[in-house]
Amino acid sequence: MTDYAVELLNVSTHYYGERRPAIRNVTLRIPHGTFTLIAGPNGSGKTTLLETILGLLKPSTGVVKMLGYEIPREASRARRFCSYLPQDFMKPASEPFTAREVVAMGLSSKRSMGWLSEKDWMQVDRMLSLLGMLEHADKPFGKLSGGQQQKVMLARALVRNPKLLLLDEPFSAMDRESRSFIVKTIFPRLLEGGCTVILVSHVFELELITPNLVVEMMDGRVEEVLYADVHAPS
């Protein structure tokens, strides 16, 4: 096993046509089994950082490793062990898939030809139940409220049993009670199971759970990295 779940060494990422990089000279090492909060104002590069880690954006310079895999070269192999919840993920009312189908899709890349067993379907229902969405399982995804859609998407991320969970503003439409339940109950379970959680949020109540690392971003750079009880990398 590699030392770190995520490693970025002097990474810069440009969007096409832009001279100024969206993130620049980022060096960051996130140990396995930790909870990292990436904070910063709008436009500071938080989402770009997540997408660079996943290989959805190609870095212009530097080295990116995710779970020991080189990104973007080995991205498709690494992604099977990751889950991602993108920012502002809302679908219109006409979306033709049910909540249960959306969660089941999360397992399709991890199963041969995407076929799900009965055990997999039970796991899908279990995740929906955990997030209080089982009663809405057969409803069209697009007809759920914003907060409900986010819960279903979180269920989809969790059903994959990821080693690395990347969440981009996952609570923006959720009520405080739901947020509190997820952070106080689900996150600790994930961390105990060895999952590394990286959460991007510009509004996060630190009293809910203490992150192991807080990465402050500003203007595309990592301004500061605060370590709680994890040994800082040398």
Binding site: L56, S76, R79, A104, M105, S109
Partner: protein
């Protein structure tokens, strides 16, 4: 006897081609590939016109152009940094211009043959047993691909970027889908003609969108509506000696208008029932 044989083969071919087009349209619509399919359809037309000018096999040329267009469009848009929709429209314009040039360059006798009519507005006489066999093979390949990889295809239909982020080889599946759609378009050219094949992709999908809200039903009923439109259109063309492609498209439009009307009536009735309950 000959008439009834022609009618039966027309109905079979129409059901197969129309169904394949309808289902392809539903998939293209959900994947936002509408303009790619448009470019592919006109690429197939240009390919067929070139084959006519060079006295080559029309079906092979049409299929090759449709599939090459599908495969190259994405990388072309990426490398030129032009939006996919825009480059599809550029290719559509280029293909249309080339089609007319190739038709004009066709040898004199070719311009007077059935082949030009087939190319532009379709022909019942193009329906031969070999054509039905090829359509059947395509149908089996298409259905098998969708059935075997349904869960992964669903993920792509829901959200392409998220599917990619979860490790699905989106490029590969898209390539296979576009190849199947390209083959569907090229084969359907014979029945509807090059300028109207696009209509058969989208009118059945538009009709089923009025009535159904789950993905499986959308694809299935786009298939059914495509089959019905083609069969009715072919039958009317056979009886009235009007261009096949036009008759099929008119049938599809009538079906679409019917589905809108039914959908509105159903909504008004359910609204009235809800008000009465209150």
């Amino acid at each position: 006897m000959l008439m009834s044989m022609l009618l039966v083969s027309s109905l079979i071919a129409g059901s197969l081609a129309g169904g394949l087009c309808g289902a392809s349209g539903a998939i293209c619509n959900k994947l936002n590939l509408t303009t790619i399919a448009f470019a592919m359809a006109h690429g197939a037309l240009a390919g067929a016109a070139l084959a006519l000018a060079l006295n080559l096999d029309v079906l092979s040329a049409a299929m090759s152009m449709a599939i090459v267009t599908a495969i190259l469009l994405g990388p072309l848009a990426d490398s030129l940094r032009i939006p996919l929709d825009l480059i599809s429209m550029i290719l559509f314009s280029a293909y249309n211009a080339l089609t007319f040039i190739f038709i004009l360059l066709s040898p004199g006798p070719a311009l007077m043959t059935e082949r030009i009519g087939q190319l532009l507005w379709g022909s019942i006489l193009a329906i031969r047993p070999s054509y039905i066999l090829i359509l059947t093979i395509l149908l089996i390949a298409y259905l098998s691909f969708i059935a075997v990889f349904w869960r992964r295809l669903s993920s792509m239909l829901f959200d392409l970027r998220l599917a990619e982020a979860e490790g699905i080889n989106v490029r590969l599946y898209k390539c296979v889908l576009l190849t199947l759609i390209g083959a569907t378009i090229a084969l359907s050219l014979r029945i509807t003609g090059g300028f109207l094949v696009f209509s058969l992709l989208y009118l059945p999908a538009a009709a089923s969108l009025q009535l159904f809200s789950t993905m499986k039903k959308l694809i299935a009923f786009s298939w059914i509506f495509g089959s019905i439109s083609s069969s009715i259109g072919l039958w009317i063309s056979l009886l009235s000696d009007l261009p096949v492609g036009s008759c099929i498209v008119i049938a599809a439009i009538i079906l679409f208008l019917g589905s809108i009307t039914y959908s509105r009536l159903r909504f008004k009735l359910s609204l009235r029932e809800a008000v009465n309950l209150v």
